[in-house]
Symmetry: C2
Subunit: 344 residues, 2 copies
């Protein structure tokens, strides 16, 4: 079987059609009218040779790749998968392809991902960064690369666009709800240690507690819960020591899911024995065996904002315009009133 280097080039098409490569180029891109005779000959040659222009070569003259990159901690995460799907679709409609990098919250991998995207000269970069690579990102931004960050704010990385949710306010709101239901012993599951997203949710929790004259209790705070095995101990503790806490707040949809699974396994009834709330996603938390009271993120709205911003920046970059003020879009979340938080 032939190696696929056997691809036809514009020269082959030109020769076959008996015209110059310029004419072929013009025909392909519609940059200029070409005569009907030539058109037909070229069309025939293209079909005969199965000609497909080489986009990489094109990109070097055009100085744009019509590719944007998205870098996220985990594409199989429900929220991010939804974001990616819509971003891919919207960009596709705008004539861009999407390259995805999934970093697993590994700083080293994220670094190499970013580098790789830069070497590929993507026209734009969408990134939910775990942090620690801000110097690299800053340089890229300073170089004029259209870029929008999302999910996790990077306080030391200004001058770029952000798409965020108000995690602190939302965490405060949900915590207040729990307090209003009479709970005083409230457990909190923190997320990935280095994530500013997780940190903000934690701060919002503390805010609400403070407003009620309370303070977080060490014994009720669970660090770095990323896995089902990280979440199991929470319910085990409760069973060992009934009354240790009456409500638990999860700071990610995954944590909620793990808690639901563990609650079933360990036969802890929700909200009977334990109230559960936190951060969810529509169409995900819907599967839980109760109406979930929680803050609902909207992946589609996030994606829409991301695409709107990056397209805008890329247009500016193409036209050599000044970028102007960095944008900061806060995507509102919905407060879902369910029955997973009971009165105490």
């Amino acid at each position: 079987m032939a190696s696929h280097n056997s691809k036809a080039t514009i020269w082959d098409v030109a020769a076959e059609a008996g015209v110059s490569i310029t004419t072929v180029s013009r025909y392909m891109n519609g940059t200029q009218r070409v005569g009907p005779a030539a058109s037909e000959a070229i069309e025939r040659a293209i079909r005969k040779l199965d000609y497909l222009p080489n986009a990489n070569v094109r990109s070097i003259k055009l100085r744009q790749t019509r590719t944007v990159a998205i870098i996220v901690p985990d594409i199989s995460n429900f929220f991010l998968a939804r974001v990616c799907r819509r971003v891919e679709h919207l960009l596709y409609q705008a004539g861009y392809a999407l390259i995805i990098g999934s970093t697993g919250n590994n700083v080293e991998k994220e670094h190499r991902c970013i580098r790789s995207m830069l070497e590929r000269r993507v026209d734009g970069l969408l990134i939910s960064s775990a942090g620690q690579n801000n110097d690299l990102l800053r340089r890229a931004a300073a170089d004029g690369l259209p870029m929008v960050l999302f999910e996790s704010p990077q306080p030391d990385l200004g001058g770029v666009d952000y798409v965020l949710e108000d995690n602190r306010a939302n965490a405060r709101l949900i915590t207040r709800t729990v307090l209003e239901h009479g709970h005083r012993k409230i457990s909190f599951l923190k997320g990935f240690a280095h994530s500013t997203l997780a940190e903000e949710r934690w701060l919002g929790f503390c805010d609400a507690l403070a407003e009620a004259g309370l303070a977080p209790e060490d014994a009720l705070v669970w660090e770095n819960c990323r896995d089902r095995t990280d979440c199991a101990p929470v319910l085990e503790a409760l069973r060992r020591q009934p009354g240790l806490f009456t409500a638990v707040i999860a700071s990610t949809p995954e944590q909620m899911k793990f808690l639901v699974m563990e609650a079933r396994r360990q036969k802890v009834s929700i909200p009977g024995q334990l109230s559960l709330t936190g951060f969810g996603i529509e169409d995900y938390t819907a599967l839980f065996p109760f109406e979930t009271t929680c803050i609902l993120s909207d992946p589609l709205a996030n994606a829409d904002a991301l695409v709107a911003l990056i397209l805008h920046r890329m247009a500016q970059a193409r036209d050599g315009e000044n970028f102007g003020e960095p944008q900061r879009r806060i995507i509102p979340c919905r407060f879902a009133q369910g029955d997973s938080v009971g009165r105490v």
Copy 2:
């Protein structure tokens, strides 16, 4: 702010370091020794200029992009998201980047996705095709593009590698289980109309029925169930006409999920009033409020096979070797014995 065309080239580095571009190239790629003095000067120049080689330009000389594409109906689908995550990771480790296309089972979009990937000269293509683009795929394969199909077999597209599950046998197995539990009125949810994957599962269902001397009843077969709204009528029918069927088999994990959600909403107890089974995924069906009896697909095993095959083919293509026999890997599924199928 400067346009990001302000990128340094190999010429800039050479000039800054006082050497020729050849030397810089050799230094970057380690293709040949360069003197210590030159090395240091180049290193300094690179840092100073923030030089990042242009991968697209490189690719045209090297005749490889170190990029592979994966095209799937929906990246936010749990199974595919998991597959993509692992494929991305494995390929990344092998030095390849992954471009993802999500087609929404739209033939037109799939076609343009494939074309786009070919124009980008990806070194390999992984695709779960909805069908109907087999001529394009066949030409690509004939051109020597390493390619492996998965999920949905394309009977008219031979000579390429496949990673599949034995859907027909698995559907037969799960149906037989339902029959063995005494069910005779069994409802079946078919999947996306044009999907050969869905078709195979349907055939396996028919096989088992036939073995038991039964035949599918039109009133119990639901076509083209892709959404929650497609699944709701199933349970509504049962409530309108109790005893219409005693068990339901879903042909995709999503259908199972929708049925679970609807069962809760419509207050149909599983397996009390209705037995439920079908095709699931570990860590997904785990969330259901019962132990699910079903066939479990293994996204990781699928991904491993995909990557192993494509890497092998790409190595062959690079070395100009003959491709030899097409491979066909059947990934085994696990039969999960739960309690969602009751005795009748």
